[in-house]
């Protein structure tokens, strides 16, 4: 199951050129670009690990692409996203966030039902990947496909 999230969630995976163009847009607006990664695919997992510091003061997307590629190479079996932070007064929040790297195989989620008092049923999403410890969740899934995407 292909996990989607963020600004371009409805589009196919962006190519590197498209990612660079989006980063260029963010930098042209004065937003600071940062790279983040995680291997916990749950939709409520909003706080991902940071790859280095947010990149303030960059003029050209090539510098940020360097970090995107470095992060993908270091964590090939993780989700990687780019966020752009708008520091202007009154906004001061993430202005743009999109996935730029994903594990080759995404096993998806199962629905857990929990019966509670009074025949009530609670539902919860459980990512199959989360059954394994952090760092090994997608490890065996890394294959040629990820490399072929130009990651």
């Amino acid at each position: 199951m292909r996990v989607t999230q963020g600004t371009f969630s409805y589009l196919p995976d962006l190519t590197d050129d498209e990612i660079a163009a989006q980063i260029g847009y963010a930098q042209a607006r004065g937003w600071a670009v940062a790279v983040e990664f995680t291997d916990d695919p749950h939709p409520r997992n909003v706080l991902w690990e940071m790859w280095g510091l947010p990149m303030f003061g960059l003029a050209d997307p090539a510098g940020a692409m360097l970090e995107v590629r470095a992060c993908r190479a270091q964590y090939p079996d993780h989700y990687v996203r780019v966020t752009a932070y708008d520091a202007s007064l009154g906004r001061q929040t993430t202005a743009l966030s999109f996935i730029v790297g994903r594990p080759a195989r995404e096993p998806g989620f199962r629905l857990d039902r929990q019966e509670s008092a009074g025949r009530q049923v609670r539902y919860t999403l459980h990512p199959y990947a989360a059954d394994r410890p952090r760092g090994e969740r997608y490890a065996e899934g890394f294959s040629a496909q990820n490399g072929a995407r130009g990651g």
Binding site: T4, L11, P12, L58, D60
Partner: protein, 340 residues
């Protein structure tokens, strides 16, 4: 957009009854169709050729002298234009490597030209942003193990899309200390200069003799720099034109006597030690302004705008240079003086 052949694209559109499967998008053409091999292009009518000509004219106007430097810039501009035309004909064209090394005596305009290079290469369509990031050893080399690489990368990232100017680059390499982290910075620089040629232009600037030593001990660096440009010393006449431009820019003027005195001043100063070409001229003009201000304040009375602009021959002649200047070892001939 990804082509529909990519597996990722399968999850893109929801199937709608009645809607035909989306047509595979035709690949975007990379540009206009290649011209026929027997077609011709009029160079004079090319919009880019005109822009480049205007740009080079401006360069000629802004920089006095520096003929070899201007020649090289002209060559680079022509190459970029020809490459573009070759692409028009569907011929192979590769981005030339434009890393440069500027060598020359102090004050010959190395740093000044480097600051203009970014804007120039952007207008020529070689660089995307054309900003200048000017660094020295301190900005690249860290103070402890593991500090250098992130520091150098940070600088390189900031310079992407523009020009990275490393002033006095030979300080990066300290042969007397084999544990110096400068070597690490050089290695990262080399790697990025090679791998990301299209993203940034690295300019090394420094004095010729020390640069030679630096390149001898870092042959990889010398071979990755395509353009070694030597800045010649300015002639007397060029220095006077530079001085006139500086005075103009500062809204000062000299009468005939002052101009003659200043020409004599420059001639004497050139023969004296520690002469730094245009930098010495700038310093001399700064001191002229000091003396002019002192003269005006000491005279008192009514002052017009013209007086504030006028530099007199006496202001020039008060300089220590006319009385022998500094000794060959830089010593001062007299304890008291006019601060010249």
């Amino acid at each position: 957009m990804g082509t529909p052949a990519q597996p990722a694209a399968r999850g893109f559109a929801m199937a709608r009854p009645g809607a035909a499967a989306p047509e595979p998008a035709a690949p975007e053409p990379a540009g206009p169709a290649p011209l026929a091999p027997d077609a011709t292009v009029d160079l004079g009518s090319q919009e880019q050729a005109l822009r480049i000509a205007a740009l080079l004219d401006r360069l000629d106007g802004e920089f006095v002298g520096l003929a070899p430097v201007k020649d090289r810039v002209r060559e680079i501009a022509a190459l970029l234009l020809v490459d573009r035309l070759r692409r028009g004909f569907g011929l192979a064209s590769s981005r030339p490597s434009l890393h440069m090394c500027f060598t020359g005596s102090p004050g010959t305009g190395k740093t000044t030209l480097a600051t203009h290079m970014g804007a120039l290469l952007k207008e020529l369509g070689y660089l995307r942003t054309g900003q200048l990031v000017s660094v020295t050893r301190d900005d690249l080399v860290g103070q402890y193990v593991g500090h250098t690489a992130p520091k150098t990368r940070e600088v390189l990232k900031r310079a992407m899309g523009g020009v990275l100017l490393i002033d006095e680059a030979y300080y990066l390499y300290r042969p007397e200390n084999e544990r110096d982290y400068g070597q690490e910075a050089i290695e990262i620089l080399l790697q990025v200069m090679e791998a990301q040629r299209e993203d940034l232009v690295v300019i090394l600037a420094g004095y010729a003799d020390r640069m030679d030593v630096f390149f001898r001990s870092n042959p990889g660096m010398a071979s990755r720099i395509a353009h070694h440009i030597d800045f010649p010393d300015f002639t007397l006449e060029e220095l006077l034109r530079i001085a006139a431009a500086m005075l103009d820019a500062g809204q000062y003027r000299m009468d005939e006597g002052a101009r003659e005195a200043f020409a004599e001043y420059v001639r004497l100063r050139m023969a004296q030690p520690r002469f730094a070409n245009a930098r010495s001229i700038r310093n001399a003009i700064d001191r002229l302004r000091l003396r002019q201000a002192r003269r005006l304040v000491a005279a008192g009375g009514v002052i017009a705008a013209g007086d504030l602009m006028e530099i007199s021959a006496a202001d020039v002649r008060a300089s220590r240079v006319f009385r022998g200047g500094l000794g060959p070892d830089g010593s001062r001939p007299r304890a008291e003086g006019t601060g010249a």
